[in-house]
């Protein structure tokens, strides 16, 4: 055990990618995926890897695809909603295929610990017609990453590695392999593969569909798709996958008596599923995330003569995260609880902006600037500042996706609302706000964009940002905002009156204004 390395799930994938000889790693920070890139970034010199934070997930995906195009191995990492941003290159990379091995690491967040939804990325892998691997522990995360690179090159397809929060942020010992050398440059020969003109795309799409039986055959023979016969007669069989397998094994004390199928590699191994279903009269499906396997099994008409239990019949909760107690319950064993809270009601402790946070002062100034208006609208975005929704600030009213603050404000203003203000951070602006602002410039939309420039990606742990300081003003100017209506304020309580005045003036200006509220994140201050 002493020769093992202590790694978070995210880090196990990162180390495996380094050992598998990647040449490039790209990402945008997002919980619970962030630590993967950070691990690689801190070792990029040692491994001679090109690693950098990208402006957003779409950019990151395309950079990784470019490395693969050049014949080398790459990894791109993001959270589940990040894959929505990268969906365009993602879907098309299934059609182009890849050259050097390319692994798409996506960390889902069931239970929404730090996210707007709990979408299940297995659907996207299936949508893209590519293989998906779903490890259950840190060692498998390491091993499957190696396998994913091999598979990616054999099939000529990107391979998805699907994670969930509990694995991403769980630490354990991992045994590692020898480090492999990086691949030499070996560019895709000129031809139609990567030029998805309709004439080429039709050819490529045909190839992709022709590969599907190979993907299924790999799933059927995968050591990670394990069909185990029961040790006792049982009317019920279990299909489980990913981290849910751990809760299942915990509930049965590591020794299941019923037959079970564990799925860790997709597409779903059809004949293994059939084999299990044929041997029992009831199938319980335990999977973390959406009822992906369950839905496939039920189809529209169900399985004749078999009872299927899972999330769709309410046997397991449809929303939120599974845990050992929920799974034990489903298997008929009620965990005994000995102690209960003795303070009733127990107050919640939601996350909050740090003491001294610049966002607090910006929101206070904004609230005061808007206090004279009947129905002000304040759209916002994703970052620490979203916590400005909670009392006592209650400063914002939307958070949909990165950059939506600006574009939604445009729409709201076009629809006739006044005043309309949007508030977002500098990193969110770089990620997906610039295009919205460029669009708003076209009609000089009547709204105020407040960019809270704290110089970092704060919520995910103060990663580097790229549109901050003087550069941010240049960008805003370059996008076409009139220089008279680009204002910079310093969010400190001693400047409160002045800041309120600036925001009010820009609210009253009939047209587009940008107020940059600039003060470094208190967390960076602490680090310095």
């Amino acid at each position: 055990m002493n020769d093992q390395m202590l790694l978070l799930g995210d880090e196990a994938v990162a180390l495996a990618a380094l050992h598998a000889g990647i040449s490039g790693a790209y990402a945008y920070p997002g919980t619970p995926s962030t630590e993967l890139f950070e691990f690689i970034d801190s070792r990029k010199e040692e491994y001679s890897v090109h690693a950098r934070w990208s402006a957003n997930e779409k950019v990151a995906y395309e950079e990784a695809l470019g490395v693969s195009y050049a014949g080398k191995r790459s990894i791109v990492s993001m959270k589940h909603v990040g894959l929505n941003v990268a969906a365009d290159p993602f879907m098309n990379s299934g059609v182009t295929g890849v050259n050097g091995g390319m692994v798409v690491f996506v960390a889902d967040d069931p239970g929404m610990h730090s996210s707007q939804n709990e979408q299940d990325s297995r659907y996207l892998a299936s949508f893209c017609l590519i293989p998906c691997l779903e490890p259950a522990n840190q060692q498998e995360a390491y091993d499957m990453t190696h396998q994913a690179f091999e598979m990616s090159e054999e099939l000529g397809l990107p391979v998805m590695l699907r994670f969930v929060t509990r694995l991403a942020h769980s630490r354990s010992g991992v045994s590692v392999e020898e480090r492999k050398p990086q691949r030499p440059l070996n560019k895709v020969p000129r031809g139609g593969q990567f030029t998805l003109l309709p004439s080429n795309a039709r050819v490529q799409y045909e190839k992709l569909t022709e590969k599907q039986p190979d993907l299924l055959a790999l799933s059927e023979s995968s050591q990670y798709n394990e069909l185990v016969a029961g040790t006792a007669r049982s009317a019920t069989g279990v299909i489980t996958s990913g981290i849910a397998y751990n809760y299942f094994m915990e509930a049965v004390g590591g020794r299941p008596r019923m037959p079970y199928l564990r799925i860790s590699q997709y597409p779903i191994p059809i004949s293994k599923v059939r084999q299990l279903v044929e041997s029992v009269s009831e199938v319980l499906i335990i999977e973390e995330g959406y009822p992906f396997v369950e839905q496939a099994l039920r189809g529209i008409v169900g399985v004749h003569g078999r009872k299927i239990r899972g999330k769709l019949d309410g046997f397991l909760p449809r929303t939120g995260e599974l845990d050992p107690a929920i799974v034990a319950n489903a298997l008929g064993s009620q965990p005994e609880v000995s102690w209960k809270p003795t303070i009733d009601p127990l107050p919640n402790r939601p996350p909050a902006l740090c003491p001294g946070c610049p966002h607090t002062d910006t929101f206070k100034a904004l609230n005061d600037a808007l206090s004279g208006y009947d129905q002000p609208t304040v759209t916002s975005d994703i970052g620490c500042y979203t916590l400005g929704f909670y009392p006592p600030l209650e400063a914002i009213e939307t958070c949909v996706d990165m950059g939506a603050s600006i574009s939604m404000a445009s729409g709201a203003s076009n629809a006739g609302l006044f005043p309309v203000v949007c508030a977002l951070g500098d990193s969110t602006f770089a990620h997906s706000g610039m295009t919205g602002l460029l669009t708003a410039v076209q009609d000089d939309d009547n709204m105020v964009v407040i960019i809270m420039d704290n110089g970092t990606v704060a919520m995910t742990g103060t990663q580097q940002t790229m549109a901050t300081g003087g550069r941010l003003e240049e960008i805003v100017k370059g996008l076409g905002v009139h220089p008279d209506h680009i204002r910079v304020i310093n969010p400190l309580s001693k400047h409160h009156e002045e800041n309120v005045k600036v925001i009010k003036e820009e609210v009253e200006h009939r047209g587009l204004s940008v107020v940059i509220s600039r003060r470094p994140c208190i967390q960076i201050r602490k680090q310095a």
Binding site: Q4, T31, H169, W339, R349, P351
Partner: protein, 259 residues
């Protein structure tokens, strides 16, 4: 052997450092473990926790099943309440007694402390006091490790090399302050544990421990203190409440209590 710990606290209190020290101690012992933690939004002053599972066999689930934890180790007393359903029938709670008040509806401190003392299986430690005694106010989390060690399948020396490693970049004085905090808190935790094992009422142990100066706990006197407290609890309460500030936990205090 298996040992499951729920770490409880508030984002920013250094729970992840505690987890890191425990992880590494586990590895040095050749134990298998899984340790699940919370990153992201909750770390901004929200309730945070970590599940730490140690075993000499393979650990399967990253999360501890309800009703099975051997310990809740807290850096904040109210947060303990959030995880009591994880605690097994014989489980113990070792927690810092220092409230972290960042919500408007935080219950009165006496209520929070009283509720924990009444649970019985609890050791309430003033980690702030221990950290300040070594002029290292940020070491409250290290103090909680030390105080918990007598209850854990670890010894103080298991943590020493890891502390040296974790604080290496901060220089020798930070390292030695943290080692002192570790040692002082260990002795305080051990003293607490010994008295509770003798069935001295929890509120009495808590009252006595709070009166004894950090660094002056004498392990070989613990039993004698316990017997004295059991023998004349009311009188001891009276004596303790008459003591202004803190005094050494030596024989003269014992004499005062049993006089």
């Amino acid at each position: 052997m298996k040992y499951d710990i729920v770490l409880a606290g508030v984002g920013g209190q250094g729970i992840l450092t505690i987890a890191y020290l425990l992880d590494n101690a586990a590895v040095k012992q050749g134990l298998r473990f899984k340790q699940s933690e919370v990153h992201g939004m909750a770390q901004r002053g929200g309730a945070v926790y970590s599940h730490m599972r140690l075993s000499d066999e393979t650990v399967i689930s990253d999360l501890i099943p309800q009703g099975q934890a051997d310990m809740i180790l807290g850096v904040e007393p109210l947060e303990i309440q959030r995880y009591l359903h994880y605690l097994g029938p014989e489980g113990v709670v070792v927690t810092n007694n220092q409230p972290f008040v960042n919500i408007p509806n935080y219950p009165p401190e006496e209520e929070v402390i009283g509720a924990l003392l009444r649970l019985g299986n609890t050791a309430l430690i003033d980690a702030k006091r221990i950290a300040q005694a070594s002029k290292s106010p940020r070491s409250q989390n290290v103090a909680m490790i030390g105080a918990a060690t007598p209850f854990l399948p670890f010894e103080v020396k298991d943590f020493e090399p890891i502390i040296r490693e974790v604080f290496a970049a901060k220089g020798d004085s930070v390292i030695s302050a943290n080692l002192e905090v570790l040692s002082n808190s260990y002795h305080e935790g051990l003293f607490y544990k010994t008295l509770r094992e003798m069935d001295v009422p929890n509120e009495l142990v808590y009252g006595l421990v709070g009166k004894i100066e950090v660094g002056t706990f004498e392990p070989n006197l613990a039993k004698a203190f316990g017997e004295t407290l059991i023998g004349a609890p009311d009188k001891c309460r009276e004596v303790l409440s008459s003591i202004d500030g803190e005094i050494p936990g030596d024989r003269s205090l014992l004499d005062k209590l049993s006089a």
